[in-house]
Symmetry: C2
Subunit: 308 residues, 2 copies
Protein backbone atom coordinates (compact mmCIF):
# COMPACT_ATOMS: atom_id res chain seq x y z
CA UNK A 1 0.00 0.00 0.00
CA UNK A 2 2.71 2.38 1.08
CA UNK A 3 4.86 2.22 -2.04
CA UNK A 4 1.70 2.47 -4.13
CA UNK A 5 0.92 5.64 -2.26
CA UNK A 6 4.42 7.01 -2.87
CA UNK A 7 4.09 6.20 -6.55
CA UNK A 8 0.73 7.94 -6.66
CA UNK A 9 2.16 10.92 -4.87
CA UNK A 10 5.18 11.11 -7.16
CA UNK A 11 2.87 11.45 -10.12
CA UNK A 12 1.12 14.34 -8.41
CA UNK A 13 4.14 16.36 -7.42
CA UNK A 14 5.14 19.42 -9.40
CA UNK A 15 8.88 19.37 -10.07
CA UNK A 16 11.11 21.86 -8.33
CA UNK A 17 14.52 23.02 -9.48
CA UNK A 18 15.61 23.33 -5.84
CA UNK A 19 14.83 19.72 -5.04
CA UNK A 20 17.55 17.33 -6.08
CA UNK A 21 16.10 14.24 -4.39
CA UNK A 22 12.46 14.25 -3.33
CA UNK A 23 10.16 11.49 -2.07
CA UNK A 24 11.61 7.99 -2.36
CA UNK A 25 15.02 8.12 -0.69
CA UNK A 26 16.02 8.14 3.01
CA UNK A 27 15.90 11.91 3.00
CA UNK A 28 15.37 14.78 0.62
CA UNK A 29 18.25 16.70 -0.89
CA UNK A 30 17.89 20.41 -1.45
CA UNK A 31 20.33 22.49 -3.40
CA UNK A 32 21.98 24.89 -1.01
CA UNK A 33 21.08 28.30 -2.32
CA UNK A 34 24.44 29.47 -3.55
CA UNK A 35 26.95 26.96 -2.34
CA UNK A 36 28.38 23.63 -3.41
CA UNK A 37 26.91 22.04 -0.27
CA UNK A 38 23.72 20.05 -0.49
CA UNK A 39 21.14 20.10 2.19
CA UNK A 40 19.64 16.81 3.37
CA UNK A 41 16.32 16.76 5.25
CA UNK A 42 14.80 13.68 6.86
CA UNK A 43 11.49 13.26 8.63
CA UNK A 44 10.37 10.27 10.73
CA UNK A 45 7.31 10.03 12.94
CA UNK A 46 7.16 7.51 15.79
CA UNK A 47 3.98 6.41 17.57
CA UNK A 48 3.17 4.62 20.79
CA UNK A 49 2.38 0.96 20.17
CA UNK A 50 4.31 0.88 16.90
CA UNK A 51 7.84 2.11 17.56
CA UNK A 52 7.79 2.06 21.37
CA UNK A 53 5.43 1.40 24.26
CA UNK A 54 4.75 4.08 26.84
CA UNK A 55 4.62 2.35 30.25
CA UNK A 56 7.07 -0.35 29.20
CA UNK A 57 9.82 1.80 27.66
CA UNK A 58 10.95 4.83 29.58
CA UNK A 59 10.49 8.28 28.06
CA UNK A 60 14.18 9.08 27.90
CA UNK A 61 14.85 5.99 25.77
CA UNK A 62 11.83 6.82 23.60
CA UNK A 63 13.13 10.35 22.98
CA UNK A 64 16.60 9.05 22.21
CA UNK A 65 15.24 6.48 19.79
CA UNK A 66 13.12 9.06 17.94
CA UNK A 67 16.21 11.16 17.27
CA UNK A 68 18.51 8.21 16.61
CA UNK A 69 16.18 6.82 13.92
CA UNK A 70 16.34 10.15 12.10
CA UNK A 71 20.10 10.42 12.52
CA UNK A 72 20.35 6.95 11.04
CA UNK A 73 18.59 8.26 7.94
CA UNK A 74 21.15 11.06 7.69
CA UNK A 75 23.94 8.50 8.04
CA UNK A 76 22.49 6.57 5.11
CA UNK A 77 22.83 9.74 3.04
CA UNK A 78 26.35 10.40 4.37
CA UNK A 79 25.14 13.75 5.66
CA UNK A 80 26.43 15.78 8.57
CA UNK A 81 23.62 16.71 11.00
CA UNK A 82 22.85 20.42 11.16
CA UNK A 83 19.46 21.17 12.75
CA UNK A 84 16.49 19.26 14.15
CA UNK A 85 12.77 20.03 14.55
CA UNK A 86 10.76 18.10 17.10
CA UNK A 87 6.97 17.94 17.11
CA UNK A 88 5.18 15.93 19.79
CA UNK A 89 1.63 15.06 20.75
CA UNK A 90 1.71 14.29 24.46
CA UNK A 91 -0.98 12.24 26.22
CA UNK A 92 -3.16 14.38 28.48
CA UNK A 93 -2.80 11.83 31.32
CA UNK A 94 0.83 13.00 31.71
CA UNK A 95 2.14 9.46 31.36
CA UNK A 96 4.98 11.07 29.40
CA UNK A 97 6.31 14.60 29.71
CA UNK A 98 8.26 16.52 27.11
CA UNK A 99 11.20 17.13 29.40
CA UNK A 100 11.81 13.41 29.87
CA UNK A 101 11.79 12.90 26.11
CA UNK A 102 14.34 15.67 25.73
CA UNK A 103 16.54 14.08 28.40
CA UNK A 104 17.04 11.35 25.84
CA UNK A 105 17.20 13.67 22.85
CA UNK A 106 19.67 16.28 24.11
CA UNK A 107 22.77 14.14 24.79
CA UNK A 108 22.51 12.47 21.40
CA UNK A 109 21.96 15.83 19.67
CA UNK A 110 25.02 17.19 21.40
CA UNK A 111 27.10 14.15 20.47
CA UNK A 112 26.38 14.83 16.80
CA UNK A 113 26.49 18.66 17.04
CA UNK A 114 22.87 18.83 16.00
CA UNK A 115 21.14 22.14 16.75
CA UNK A 116 17.63 21.67 18.12
CA UNK A 117 16.16 24.39 16.00
CA UNK A 118 12.42 24.30 16.64
CA UNK A 119 9.32 22.24 16.99
CA UNK A 120 5.81 22.07 18.31
CA UNK A 121 4.40 20.61 21.51
CA UNK A 122 0.78 19.57 21.84
CA UNK A 123 -1.28 17.85 24.52
CA UNK A 124 -4.19 15.66 23.43
CA UNK A 125 -6.39 12.71 24.35
CA UNK A 126 -4.42 10.25 22.17
CA UNK A 127 -1.19 8.32 22.80
CA UNK A 128 2.33 9.71 22.39
CA UNK A 129 3.50 10.72 18.90
CA UNK A 130 6.93 12.18 18.12
CA UNK A 131 7.73 13.63 14.73
CA UNK A 132 11.28 14.71 14.00
CA UNK A 133 12.67 16.54 11.00
CA UNK A 134 16.44 16.80 10.64
CA UNK A 135 18.42 18.98 8.29
CA UNK A 136 21.90 17.86 7.34
CA UNK A 137 24.44 18.85 4.78
CA UNK A 138 26.67 17.04 2.37
CA UNK A 139 29.91 18.70 1.35
CA UNK A 140 30.27 19.09 -2.37
CA UNK A 141 26.99 17.47 -3.27
CA UNK A 142 28.14 14.04 -2.18
CA UNK A 143 24.83 12.66 -0.85
CA UNK A 144 24.73 8.90 -0.85
CA UNK A 145 21.50 7.73 -2.49
CA UNK A 146 19.79 4.36 -2.50
CA UNK A 147 19.76 4.30 -6.23
CA UNK A 148 23.45 4.31 -7.12
CA UNK A 149 24.28 0.59 -6.84
CA UNK A 150 25.70 -0.99 -10.01
CA UNK A 151 26.09 -4.61 -11.04
CA UNK A 152 29.40 -5.86 -9.71
CA UNK A 153 29.25 -3.71 -6.56
CA UNK A 154 29.64 -5.53 -3.30
CA UNK A 155 27.05 -5.21 -0.55
CA UNK A 156 28.81 -4.24 2.66
CA UNK A 157 27.14 -3.97 6.05
CA UNK A 158 28.20 -2.54 9.39
CA UNK A 159 27.62 -4.40 12.66
CA UNK A 160 25.31 -7.34 13.35
CA UNK A 161 21.69 -8.05 12.64
CA UNK A 162 18.61 -9.44 14.38
CA UNK A 163 17.00 -9.43 17.80
CA UNK A 164 16.79 -5.63 18.05
CA UNK A 165 13.62 -5.99 20.15
CA UNK A 166 15.82 -7.11 23.06
CA UNK A 167 17.23 -3.59 23.41
CA UNK A 168 19.21 -2.61 20.33
CA UNK A 169 16.13 -0.86 18.87
CA UNK A 170 16.64 1.78 21.59
CA UNK A 171 20.37 1.70 22.22
CA UNK A 172 21.77 1.60 18.70
CA UNK A 173 24.37 4.10 17.62
CA UNK A 174 23.54 5.99 14.39
CA UNK A 175 26.36 5.35 11.92
CA UNK A 176 26.99 8.99 11.02
CA UNK A 177 30.73 9.05 11.71
CA UNK A 178 31.20 5.70 9.97
CA UNK A 179 29.36 6.83 6.85
CA UNK A 180 31.23 10.13 6.65
CA UNK A 181 34.60 8.46 7.12
CA UNK A 182 33.96 5.79 4.51
CA UNK A 183 32.65 8.38 2.04
CA UNK A 184 35.74 10.46 2.52
CA UNK A 185 38.18 7.61 1.98
CA UNK A 186 36.44 5.32 -0.49
CA UNK A 187 34.07 5.38 -3.40
CA UNK A 188 30.58 4.38 -2.22
CA UNK A 189 27.87 4.01 -4.84
CA UNK A 190 24.75 3.72 -2.66
CA UNK A 191 23.60 3.46 0.93
CA UNK A 192 20.54 2.70 3.03
CA UNK A 193 20.06 2.17 6.75
CA UNK A 194 18.46 -1.07 7.81
CA UNK A 195 15.20 -0.14 9.51
CA UNK A 196 12.68 -2.63 8.15
CA UNK A 197 14.80 -5.78 7.80
CA UNK A 198 18.05 -6.69 6.09
CA UNK A 199 16.46 -8.51 3.15
CA UNK A 200 13.74 -5.93 2.61
CA UNK A 201 16.13 -2.98 2.73
CA UNK A 202 18.70 -4.71 0.52
CA UNK A 203 15.99 -5.45 -2.05
CA UNK A 204 14.84 -1.81 -1.94
CA UNK A 205 18.35 -0.65 -2.66
CA UNK A 206 18.61 -3.02 -5.62
CA UNK A 207 15.18 -2.04 -6.94
CA UNK A 208 15.88 1.71 -6.69
CA UNK A 209 19.18 1.09 -8.48
CA UNK A 210 17.53 -0.85 -11.29
CA UNK A 211 19.48 -4.01 -10.60
CA UNK A 212 19.36 -7.12 -8.39
CA UNK A 213 21.32 -8.36 -5.41
CA UNK A 214 22.57 -11.82 -4.43
CA UNK A 215 22.90 -12.41 -0.70
CA UNK A 216 25.33 -14.94 0.76
CA UNK A 217 23.33 -16.01 3.78
CA UNK A 218 26.36 -17.60 5.44
CA UNK A 219 28.10 -14.24 5.55
CA UNK A 220 25.31 -12.39 7.34
CA UNK A 221 26.60 -11.21 10.73
CA UNK A 222 24.16 -12.46 13.34
CA UNK A 223 23.76 -10.49 16.56
CA UNK A 224 23.94 -12.25 19.91
CA UNK A 225 20.41 -10.95 20.54
CA UNK A 226 19.17 -12.82 17.44
CA UNK A 227 20.58 -16.05 18.88
CA UNK A 228 18.86 -15.33 22.19
CA UNK A 229 15.56 -14.57 20.45
CA UNK A 230 15.70 -17.85 18.55
CA UNK A 231 16.21 -19.79 21.78
CA UNK A 232 13.14 -18.30 23.46
CA UNK A 233 10.26 -20.66 24.06
CA UNK A 234 7.71 -20.46 21.28
CA UNK A 235 10.04 -18.66 18.88
CA UNK A 236 9.91 -20.57 15.60
CA UNK A 237 12.56 -18.55 13.76
CA UNK A 238 16.23 -19.37 13.57
CA UNK A 239 18.84 -16.80 14.58
CA UNK A 240 19.57 -16.25 10.87
CA UNK A 241 15.90 -15.62 10.15
CA UNK A 242 15.86 -13.00 12.88
CA UNK A 243 18.95 -11.39 11.39
CA UNK A 244 17.41 -11.31 7.93
CA UNK A 245 14.03 -9.88 8.75
CA UNK A 246 13.68 -8.40 12.26
CA UNK A 247 14.49 -4.82 11.29
CA UNK A 248 15.45 -1.84 13.48
CA UNK A 249 19.11 -2.82 13.26
CA UNK A 250 19.95 0.66 12.00
CA UNK A 251 23.14 -0.59 10.46
CA UNK A 252 24.39 0.66 7.10
CA UNK A 253 23.97 -1.29 3.87
CA UNK A 254 26.44 0.03 1.31
CA UNK A 255 27.00 -0.65 -2.37
CA UNK A 256 30.75 -0.43 -2.91
CA UNK A 257 32.82 -1.03 -6.06
CA UNK A 258 34.65 -4.34 -5.78
CA UNK A 259 38.14 -2.91 -5.42
CA UNK A 260 37.22 -0.52 -2.63
CA UNK A 261 35.06 -3.16 -0.96
CA UNK A 262 38.02 -5.53 -0.77
CA UNK A 263 40.23 -2.82 0.72
CA UNK A 264 37.60 -1.95 3.33
CA UNK A 265 37.02 -5.56 4.33
CA UNK A 266 40.72 -6.24 4.57
CA UNK A 267 41.64 -3.15 6.56
CA UNK A 268 38.52 -3.01 8.78
CA UNK A 269 39.04 0.71 9.34
CA UNK A 270 36.12 1.33 11.70
CA UNK A 271 35.38 0.55 15.34
CA UNK A 272 32.41 -1.45 14.12
CA UNK A 273 33.01 -4.50 11.93
CA UNK A 274 32.29 -4.37 8.20
CA UNK A 275 31.21 -7.47 6.33
CA UNK A 276 30.57 -8.25 2.68
CA UNK A 277 27.30 -10.17 2.43
CA UNK A 278 26.48 -10.03 -1.24
CA UNK A 279 26.90 -8.73 -4.76
CA UNK A 280 24.75 -6.59 -7.01
CA UNK A 281 23.87 -8.14 -10.35
CA UNK A 282 22.14 -7.09 -13.57
CA UNK A 283 19.19 -9.44 -13.10
CA UNK A 284 16.60 -7.60 -10.98
CA UNK A 285 15.35 -9.16 -7.76
CA UNK A 286 16.61 -10.52 -4.48
CA UNK A 287 18.62 -13.73 -4.70
CA UNK A 288 20.28 -16.25 -2.45
CA UNK A 289 23.79 -17.38 -3.35
CA UNK A 290 24.20 -21.14 -3.69
CA UNK A 291 26.97 -23.40 -4.92
CA UNK A 292 25.15 -23.38 -8.25
CA UNK A 293 23.00 -20.57 -9.69
CA UNK A 294 21.37 -18.05 -7.31
CA UNK A 295 17.81 -18.86 -6.24
CA UNK A 296 15.04 -16.32 -5.52
CA UNK A 297 14.75 -15.00 -1.98
CA UNK A 298 11.69 -13.41 -0.41
CA UNK A 299 12.28 -9.83 0.77
CA UNK A 300 11.00 -10.35 4.30
CA UNK A 301 10.91 -7.58 6.85
CA UNK A 302 8.83 -5.58 9.21
CA UNK A 303 6.93 -2.57 7.90
CA UNK A 304 6.65 0.17 10.49
CA UNK A 305 5.48 2.79 8.07
CA UNK A 306 7.09 4.42 5.13
CA UNK A 307 9.19 7.37 4.25
CA UNK A 308 8.01 9.45 1.32
Amino acid sequence: MESEFVRWLRTRLPSSPLLRVGPGDDAAVLQASDAADEQVVTCDLLCDGVHFRVGTDNARRIGRKALAVNLSDLSAMAATPVAGFFAVALPRDRSVCAEELYEGILPLAEEFSLAIAGGDTNVWDGPLVISITLIGRCAGGASLLRSGARPGDHLLVTGQFGGSLLGHQFDFQPRIREALWLCEHYSLHAGIDCSDGLLLDASRMAEESGCGVVIDLQSVPIAEAAVMMAKRQGDTNSALEHALADGEDFELLLAVPQKDAQKIIQSQPLDVSLRCIGTFIEQPGLWQATDAAPIPLEPRGFLHGGSL
Copy 2:
Protein backbone atom coordinates in the same frame (compact mmCIF):
# COMPACT_ATOMS: atom_id res chain seq x y z
CA MET B 1 3.23 25.16 31.23
CA GLU B 2 4.28 25.42 27.60
CA SER B 3 6.34 28.61 27.84
CA GLU B 4 7.93 27.24 31.01
CA PHE B 5 8.95 24.23 29.00
CA VAL B 6 10.42 26.39 26.23
CA ARG B 7 12.34 28.39 28.81
CA TRP B 8 13.64 25.20 30.34
CA LEU B 9 14.60 23.89 26.93
CA ARG B 10 16.38 27.10 25.97
CA THR B 11 18.62 26.73 28.98
CA ARG B 12 19.52 23.23 27.84
CA LEU B 13 20.36 23.94 24.24
CA PRO B 14 23.93 24.16 23.07
CA SER B 15 24.42 27.23 20.89
CA SER B 16 25.03 26.79 17.20
CA PRO B 17 26.71 29.26 14.87
CA LEU B 18 24.42 28.11 12.07
CA LEU B 19 21.26 28.90 14.00
CA ARG B 20 20.33 32.55 13.89
CA VAL B 21 16.89 32.16 15.50
CA GLY B 22 16.09 29.01 17.40
CA PRO B 23 13.21 28.04 19.68
CA GLY B 24 10.85 30.89 20.57
CA ASP B 25 9.86 32.49 17.28
CA ASP B 26 7.32 31.39 14.63
CA ALA B 27 10.06 29.48 12.85
CA ALA B 28 13.76 28.90 13.04
CA VAL B 29 16.24 30.82 10.91
CA LEU B 30 19.30 29.03 9.64
CA GLN B 31 22.19 30.75 7.97
CA ALA B 32 22.33 29.61 4.39
CA SER B 33 25.68 27.95 4.00
CA ASP B 34 27.41 30.41 1.73
CA ALA B 35 24.77 32.84 0.59
CA ALA B 36 23.10 36.00 1.81
CA ASP B 37 19.78 34.16 1.94
CA GLU B 38 18.45 32.91 5.23
CA GLN B 39 16.60 29.69 5.57
CA VAL B 40 13.38 29.60 7.58
CA VAL B 41 12.02 26.30 8.91
CA THR B 42 8.66 25.89 10.63
CA CYS B 43 7.11 22.82 12.21
CA ASP B 44 3.49 22.42 13.36
CA LEU B 45 1.75 19.23 14.41
CA LEU B 46 -2.05 18.94 14.27
CA CYS B 47 -4.10 16.29 16.09
CA ASP B 48 -7.63 14.97 15.84
CA GLY B 49 -9.85 16.48 18.52
CA VAL B 50 -7.62 19.53 18.94
CA HIS B 51 -7.15 21.17 15.53
CA PHE B 52 -9.82 19.26 13.61
CA ARG B 53 -12.32 16.45 14.05
CA VAL B 54 -12.19 13.39 11.81
CA GLY B 55 -15.78 12.44 10.99
CA THR B 56 -16.99 16.04 11.17
CA ASP B 57 -14.34 17.75 9.02
CA ASN B 58 -13.47 16.13 5.74
CA ALA B 59 -9.94 14.90 5.14
CA ARG B 60 -9.23 17.27 2.28
CA ARG B 61 -9.96 20.29 4.45
CA ILE B 62 -7.90 18.78 7.27
CA GLY B 63 -4.92 18.32 4.95
CA ARG B 64 -5.28 21.85 3.61
CA LYS B 65 -5.45 23.29 7.11
CA ALA B 66 -2.35 21.42 8.26
CA LEU B 67 -0.36 22.96 5.43
CA ALA B 68 -2.00 26.39 5.65
CA VAL B 69 -1.16 26.70 9.36
CA ASN B 70 2.50 26.10 8.56
CA LEU B 71 2.43 28.49 5.60
CA SER B 72 0.96 31.08 7.92
CA ASP B 73 4.05 30.71 10.13
CA LEU B 74 6.26 31.32 7.10
CA SER B 75 4.20 34.41 6.25
CA ALA B 76 4.83 35.75 9.75
CA MET B 77 8.55 35.48 9.03
CA ALA B 78 8.14 37.05 5.57
CA ALA B 79 9.64 33.91 4.08
CA THR B 80 9.12 32.42 0.65
CA PRO B 81 8.07 28.74 0.86
CA VAL B 82 10.65 26.32 -0.52
CA ALA B 83 10.05 22.72 0.62
CA GLY B 84 7.66 20.81 2.89
CA PHE B 85 7.92 17.55 4.86
CA PHE B 86 4.73 15.75 5.86
CA ALA B 87 4.57 13.10 8.55
CA VAL B 88 1.25 11.46 9.37
CA ALA B 89 -0.08 8.83 11.76
CA LEU B 90 -3.21 7.42 10.12
CA PRO B 91 -5.93 5.60 12.07
CA ARG B 92 -5.97 1.88 11.31
CA ASP B 93 -9.76 1.96 10.85
CA ARG B 94 -9.16 3.82 7.56
CA SER B 95 -11.47 6.66 8.60
CA VAL B 96 -8.90 8.90 6.87
CA CYS B 97 -6.56 8.00 4.03
CA ALA B 98 -3.35 9.76 3.11
CA GLU B 99 -4.47 10.46 -0.42
CA GLU B 100 -7.49 12.47 0.75
CA LEU B 101 -5.26 14.55 2.99
CA TYR B 102 -2.98 15.25 0.04
CA GLU B 103 -5.95 16.28 -2.09
CA GLY B 104 -6.13 19.24 0.26
CA ILE B 105 -2.39 19.71 0.58
CA LEU B 106 -1.36 19.60 -3.08
CA PRO B 107 -3.33 22.55 -4.53
CA LEU B 108 -2.20 24.85 -1.74
CA ALA B 109 1.41 23.68 -2.12
CA GLU B 110 1.22 24.39 -5.81
CA GLU B 111 -0.30 27.81 -5.25
CA PHE B 112 2.72 28.78 -3.17
CA SER B 113 5.33 26.90 -5.25
CA LEU B 114 6.14 24.69 -2.29
CA ALA B 115 8.01 21.49 -3.12
CA ILE B 116 6.68 18.50 -1.18
CA ALA B 117 10.09 17.18 -0.39
CA GLY B 118 9.55 14.21 1.91
CA GLY B 119 7.79 12.77 4.87
CA ASP B 120 6.72 9.67 6.68
CA THR B 121 3.44 7.76 6.71
CA ASN B 122 2.41 5.48 9.54
CA VAL B 123 -0.70 3.51 10.41
CA TRP B 124 -1.56 3.02 14.06
CA ASP B 125 -4.35 2.40 16.56
CA GLY B 126 -4.61 6.07 17.56
CA PRO B 127 -6.40 9.03 15.96
CA LEU B 128 -5.06 11.11 13.05
CA VAL B 129 -1.93 13.20 13.58
CA ILE B 130 -0.29 15.36 10.91
CA SER B 131 3.11 16.91 11.41
CA ILE B 132 4.44 19.32 8.82
CA THR B 133 7.84 20.92 8.53
CA LEU B 134 8.32 23.69 5.98
CA ILE B 135 11.54 25.24 4.77
CA GLY B 136 11.42 28.75 3.43
CA ARG B 137 13.94 31.39 2.52
CA CYS B 138 14.32 35.08 3.12
CA ALA B 139 16.27 37.12 0.63
CA GLY B 140 19.13 39.04 2.17
CA GLY B 141 18.54 37.89 5.72
CA ALA B 142 15.30 39.83 6.01
CA SER B 143 13.35 37.43 8.26
CA LEU B 144 10.63 39.18 10.19
CA LEU B 145 10.91 38.22 13.85
CA ARG B 146 8.48 38.62 16.72
CA SER B 147 11.04 40.47 18.72
CA GLY B 148 11.67 43.58 16.63
CA ALA B 149 8.80 45.84 17.74
CA ARG B 150 9.86 49.20 19.19
CA PRO B 151 7.98 51.74 21.28
CA GLY B 152 6.19 54.09 18.91
CA ASP B 153 5.54 51.37 16.29
CA HIS B 154 1.97 50.92 15.20
CA LEU B 155 0.28 47.53 15.41
CA LEU B 156 -1.23 46.76 12.02
CA VAL B 157 -3.39 43.74 11.25
CA THR B 158 -4.67 42.16 8.06
CA GLY B 159 -8.27 41.03 7.65
CA GLN B 160 -10.91 40.44 10.34
CA PHE B 161 -10.95 38.51 13.58
CA GLY B 162 -13.17 36.10 15.48
CA GLY B 163 -15.56 33.24 14.81
CA SER B 164 -12.99 31.13 12.93
CA LEU B 165 -14.72 27.98 14.21
CA LEU B 166 -17.52 28.66 11.71
CA GLY B 167 -15.21 27.81 8.81
CA HIS B 168 -12.35 30.29 8.56
CA GLN B 169 -10.11 27.94 10.58
CA PHE B 170 -10.10 25.69 7.51
CA ASP B 171 -10.55 28.13 4.63
CA PHE B 172 -8.16 30.92 5.57
CA GLN B 173 -5.60 32.13 3.10
CA PRO B 174 -2.01 32.19 4.41
CA ARG B 175 -0.73 35.78 4.09
CA ILE B 176 2.52 34.90 2.32
CA ARG B 177 2.12 37.24 -0.64
CA GLU B 178 0.92 40.07 1.59
CA ALA B 179 3.88 39.73 3.95
CA LEU B 180 6.40 39.58 1.12
CA TRP B 181 4.90 42.59 -0.63
CA LEU B 182 4.78 44.70 2.51
CA CYS B 183 8.35 43.73 3.42
CA GLU B 184 9.55 44.71 0.01
CA HIS B 185 7.88 48.13 0.01
CA TYR B 186 7.92 49.21 3.65
CA SER B 187 9.96 48.90 6.78
CA LEU B 188 8.40 46.28 9.07
CA HIS B 189 9.93 45.78 12.51
CA ALA B 190 8.18 42.60 13.67
CA GLY B 191 5.49 40.12 12.72
CA ILE B 192 3.46 37.24 14.10
CA ASP B 193 0.49 35.31 12.75
CA CYS B 194 -2.61 35.19 14.89
CA SER B 195 -3.14 31.55 15.79
CA ASP B 196 -4.01 31.60 19.49
CA GLY B 197 -6.02 34.83 19.77
CA LEU B 198 -5.46 38.47 18.86
CA LEU B 199 -4.75 39.66 22.41
CA LEU B 200 -2.55 36.71 23.30
CA ASP B 201 -0.48 36.94 20.13
CA ALA B 202 -0.17 40.74 20.37
CA SER B 203 1.05 40.40 23.94
CA ARG B 204 3.60 37.75 22.89
CA MET B 205 4.96 40.09 20.26
CA ALA B 206 5.31 42.89 22.82
CA GLU B 207 6.89 40.59 25.39
CA GLU B 208 9.43 39.16 22.94
CA SER B 209 10.25 42.73 21.88
CA GLY B 210 10.77 43.87 25.47
CA CYS B 211 8.03 46.46 25.31
CA GLY B 212 4.27 46.79 25.77
CA VAL B 213 1.32 47.32 23.47
CA VAL B 214 -1.83 49.41 23.81
CA ILE B 215 -4.85 48.09 21.90
CA ASP B 216 -7.65 50.36 20.72
CA LEU B 217 -10.54 47.92 21.03
CA GLN B 218 -12.81 50.06 18.87
CA SER B 219 -10.44 49.63 15.93
CA VAL B 220 -10.37 45.84 16.00
CA PRO B 221 -11.86 44.54 12.74
CA ILE B 222 -14.59 42.08 13.69
CA ALA B 223 -15.39 39.23 11.29
CA GLU B 224 -18.98 38.55 10.28
CA ALA B 225 -18.50 35.08 11.76
CA ALA B 226 -17.73 36.62 15.17
CA VAL B 227 -21.03 38.49 15.03
CA MET B 228 -22.83 35.26 14.13
CA MET B 229 -21.11 33.36 16.94
CA ALA B 230 -22.15 36.00 19.47
CA LYS B 231 -25.78 35.69 18.38
CA ARG B 232 -25.90 31.95 18.89
CA GLN B 233 -28.04 30.72 21.74
CA GLY B 234 -26.00 30.12 24.86
CA ASP B 235 -23.01 32.12 23.62
CA THR B 236 -22.13 34.58 26.38
CA ASN B 237 -19.38 36.42 24.51
CA SER B 238 -19.80 39.58 22.47
CA ALA B 239 -18.62 39.71 18.87
CA LEU B 240 -15.65 41.81 20.03
CA GLU B 241 -14.72 39.23 22.64
CA HIS B 242 -14.74 36.57 19.93
CA ALA B 243 -12.51 38.77 17.79
CA LEU B 244 -10.06 39.33 20.62
CA ALA B 245 -9.64 35.77 21.83
CA ASP B 246 -11.02 33.09 19.49
CA GLY B 247 -7.76 32.42 17.67
CA GLU B 248 -7.11 30.59 14.38
CA ASP B 249 -7.65 33.82 12.45
CA PHE B 250 -4.25 33.35 10.81
CA GLU B 251 -4.05 37.03 10.02
CA LEU B 252 -0.81 39.00 10.31
CA LEU B 253 0.03 41.22 13.26
CA LEU B 254 2.77 43.64 12.24
CA ALA B 255 4.84 46.19 14.13
CA VAL B 256 5.40 49.05 11.70
CA PRO B 257 7.16 52.40 12.23
CA GLN B 258 4.59 55.19 12.48
CA LYS B 259 5.42 56.85 9.16
CA ASP B 260 5.20 53.64 7.13
CA ALA B 261 2.12 52.54 9.05
CA GLN B 262 0.30 55.72 8.10
CA LYS B 263 1.26 55.29 4.44
CA ILE B 264 0.05 51.67 4.44
CA ILE B 265 -3.25 52.49 6.11
CA GLN B 266 -3.87 55.40 3.77
CA SER B 267 -3.00 53.57 0.55
CA GLN B 268 -4.48 50.15 1.47
CA PRO B 269 -2.17 48.46 -1.04
CA LEU B 270 -3.41 44.87 -0.56
CA ASP B 271 -6.51 42.93 -1.58
CA VAL B 272 -7.12 42.36 2.11
CA SER B 273 -7.81 45.34 4.37
CA LEU B 274 -5.13 46.60 6.75
CA ARG B 275 -6.09 48.25 10.01
CA CYS B 276 -4.12 49.97 12.77
CA ILE B 277 -5.36 48.64 16.10
CA GLY B 278 -2.72 49.82 18.54
CA THR B 279 0.66 51.22 19.44
CA PHE B 280 3.74 49.74 21.06
CA ILE B 281 4.93 51.51 24.19
CA GLU B 282 7.90 51.32 26.56
CA GLN B 283 5.86 50.12 29.53
CA PRO B 284 5.69 46.29 29.28
CA GLY B 285 2.33 44.56 29.22
CA LEU B 286 -0.93 44.51 27.30
CA TRP B 287 -3.07 47.62 27.63
CA GLN B 288 -6.44 48.92 26.53
CA ALA B 289 -6.59 52.45 25.13
CA THR B 290 -9.08 54.73 26.89
CA ASP B 291 -9.81 58.44 26.75
CA ALA B 292 -7.50 58.77 29.74
CA ALA B 293 -4.49 56.55 30.59
CA PRO B 294 -4.34 52.98 29.23
CA ILE B 295 -5.72 50.28 31.53
CA PRO B 296 -4.41 46.69 31.82
CA LEU B 297 -5.91 44.09 29.49
CA GLU B 298 -5.87 40.33 30.01
CA PRO B 299 -4.10 38.44 27.20
CA ARG B 300 -6.93 36.04 26.50
CA GLY B 301 -6.68 33.38 23.85
CA PHE B 302 -6.89 29.72 23.06
CA LEU B 303 -3.83 27.55 23.57
CA HIS B 304 -3.66 24.73 21.04
CA GLY B 305 -0.12 23.82 21.81
CA GLY B 306 3.09 25.67 21.45
CA SER B 307 5.85 26.18 18.98
CA LEU B 308 9.34 25.80 20.36
